[in-house]
Each structure stands twice: as C-alpha cells, then as structure tokens.
Symmetry: C2
Subunit: 222 residues, 2 copies
DNA sequence: CCGTGTGAAGCTGTTCACAGCT
DNA sequence: AGCTGTGAACAGCTTCACACGG
C-alpha cells in the first residue's frame, strides 16, 4: 500500500477520517453513475463539500490525483477502502438486545462493507435464546469473554442502559476487543489502550430542540 | 428566563450546545446521588471534562454560579433544561419504519425529557397498519403533510434508505417541520431555513476500523 | 481564601492562493 | 491550460491564568 509514512497516523484528526467515509459514499454513487474521473472541485460542487479540504484530507495519505485531470473514481475508492481498513473483515459483537441493539444487529450498515455482527448478548434470561428476525439468536451476557475470544471479535458495541455501560465496557476490554462503540448516554473511562467512540442519539435531538427554542426569537425579529 | 441577550445565539457553537447536554446528564446523576452543590473542577474530575470549558460554556447564557462556592446542582439543571428548550413538548415524526425507525420510536430517549413521537410512517403498504410493540401503528407516507399539520410536528426524523432521503426531507420541509434529524447516509441539501442534523451510524464503525488498521502498526513499533 | 467569569494565549481545523506537474 | 498538492493566512475552539466577587 502506497501510504505516506512521514505523517504519523496519530496526528490525523477524527474529522478527517470521518470525511474520508463521506468521500467514499460519494465515490460509490459516482461509480454507480458510470463516472470515471472526478476533480476535487466537481466532488465539492456535487456533494456540498470544500475542494481544498478534499485535497488536503487525501494528501495525508498519498498522491492519488493527476494534476490537470483529477482523480480516478474507482482507484480513489479503493484507496479509501484501504485507508479505512474496510478490506479486512471486522467482527462485531453487540452487548444489549434492547431496541437499539436489535435494530443495529439487523441494520445493513453494520453487516456490509467489511463489518459482520457475530453475536448479540443480553443479561436478561427472557431475551436469551430468542432469534432476532433476519439476524442471530440472543446469547447470555455471561458468555461475553468466551465469545469474544472464540469468534475473535474486533469491535464491541454497547447498547445497554447507562447504568450498565461501564461494566460492559470493562468486560469487553478485559476480553480483548480492540475498539468499542458506545451508545449509552454516559461518560466511560478507564482503558486508554482501546479506542472508544461514544454516540449519544438523544444529544442530536436536544441540539435541534435548542435551535427550535431560539429560532422563534430570530423569526420574530425578521 | 435570565439568559444573557448580548451574545447572539447564532454565534454559539454546536459543540457548546452538545456539551450542555452532557452537563445535563452529569447533573441529573449528581442529583440522584443527593449532591447539592458542585464546582466546575469537581464536575470536570468526576466526568472527565475540562473545568474552564464548563465555565465558559455556561457563561454564554448567564451567571449561574456563586464565586467561592460553585453551582447549585438543581438550579443549574433547570437552567440547562430551559436553555435547551426541553421544558416544552417537542413532537417528533419518524419517516421510515425499518429497523432503525422502529427502534427509535420505541427508544426511551426519544419519548422522554420533552420529546414525544407522534407518528411513524412508511411507504410500504405491507408495513402500514402494523402496530409497533410499545409504540404506535405505522401510517402511510402519503399522509405526511396532513399528519405534520394536524399533530403540529416540530421535528422530522429520517430513517429511510439513502435513495429516498432527499424526497423525505423535501416533504418534511414543505409540510412545515422546523428541524430534521437525518440518519440516511447521504448529503442532503436545499432548505437553509430548516435546521438539519445528519448522523451516519456507519461512519463511527468506519472510524474504529481505521484505528484498528493503524493501531497494529503502532503496536509493532512499541 | 476559594471558585467563578473572562480576556489573552495557544492550538486545531479550514480556506486561500499559487507553484509545479501533466 | 487545468488541477493537484501545499505553505501560509485565517478562523474557530480550547486552555490558561488571574482579577473579581462572595
């Protein structure tokens, strides 16, 4: 792989990595449309991005474009897949078979493009054994460590209530997962060696609520 | 309400608003524990935040603390609820009764703390009429405009596939919603007057995948 | 004396603008 | 001639550090 090595990976911002995912979506759509080549300006116009930022983000990882021409769509798509590590299978385990856990385990985004859900766990004996339509059967949370090791799980997803999230996180880390995606609305801490990303779905609703409260004041002005 | 008025709301960053939600969670937990008063330093230590940032974020909206003492937990919690507009009922409509739409409509976070889901729609006639356990029955997507008006919907949530998301967004805006939360992995555009927030759940998995790919290189070094 | 509220400093992320390659 | 790749300027966000009030 022809990645630049003189810029350390740790120095690249999460914002840049998130944008690489966005660029990947855009390129996949262009490829469907049969577009062979695209300039950063065309990409920016089409998908409401900034052309300089696209070039800068890509330049962290290599020189993928051709001056005077632009980028080869299929090639750049492959590069992004390599950079994001989506060429390897990532085995995912979901802790918490509540509404969100079940939805994610059936969600196509979590079962395509390199990701595969290999287990869904719950501590509630009433849920254990139930088959999730279009997905797996729920397994007992007590088997977490064994399952992580046997199925060589890479990523743990936490969809338990806030009060149980820290314990789930600790167990996942002890069992040996390499990264954790947390949906519980709580601040987890304790394991700097395992990458943790937290997502609080309600925060986004509250953000919109804030704008609703303050938009009416603006509207009353103009 | 004793908000500062000399700083315009538009100048406050989304990052600050998101942190207000986090502070609210923290205060709710402290209140459960019976803590009456808290300093920014104690809050920061307890929940892994930065004390100066807490003070600065709060100072945009007023002077809520007492010098030499700290903040009254219950009072500050009320202030945050007011600032975020969570004292008013926000009526939410979900477009798309797939896995994610159904999960969100049952998700407690979307039915508490000021939010109430008043309708779940889908274009698929096979889904229409089905009752979501612990939630509402699915209604036809064709009734969107009527339902938005009759039930005075504030916020539309898009959980349809990427290809249908722009249409759903346009219909929601035309029907008169004031804000939209989009879960479809696509770049929406066209209505600057309606606040739009997009969340792509898969981007977070891809971010973790990136770190997995690059962590092994770090591990091989040290 | 202690902790808030806040200018100022420092840092990170974005955008500009152009040299250099094709 | 046109577009990439990139240093430099700019903008925005975070952290510092201290004057001020309780």
């Amino acid at each position: 792989m022809a990645f630049k090595r003189y810029i350390p990976v740790e120095s690249i911002s999460e914002l840049t990595i998130n944008r690489l995912s966005v660029y990947l979506r855009c390129l996949q759509q262009l490829e469907l449309e049969g577009v062979m080549t695209v300039s950063s300006q065309e990409l920016a116009d089409r998908f409401h991005l900034n052309s300089a930022q696209i070039r800068k983000d890509l330049a962290y990882f290599g020189e993928f474009g051709i001056r005077g021409v632009g980028y080869n769509v299929a090639q750049l798509r492959e590069h992004l897949i390599n950079i994001l590590g989506l060429d390897e299978e990532r085995r995912v385990l979901v802790v918490g078979a509540g509404n969100l856990g079940i939805a994610l385990s059936r969600y196509s985004g979590f079962n395509t493009g390199g990701f595969r859900i290999v287990a869904v766990l719950d501590a509630d004996p009433h849920k254990v054994g139930k088959r999730i339509p279009g997905s797996l059967a729920v397994e007992p949370a007590g088997d977490l460590a064994r399952i992580v090791k046997e199925r060589r799980v890479h990523i743990g997803v936490i969809t338990v209530p806030a009060a149980s999230a820290q314990r789930a996180y600790d167990e996942l880390v002890d069992a040996g997962v390499q990264a954790v995606l947390n949906f519980a609305p709580t601040q987890l801490k304790g394991h700097p060696e395992v990458k943790l990303k937290s997502v609080d779905l309600k925060i986004n609703l509250e953000l919109l609520s804030f704008f609703l409260s303050h938009a009416s004041r603006l509207a009353s002005v103009g």
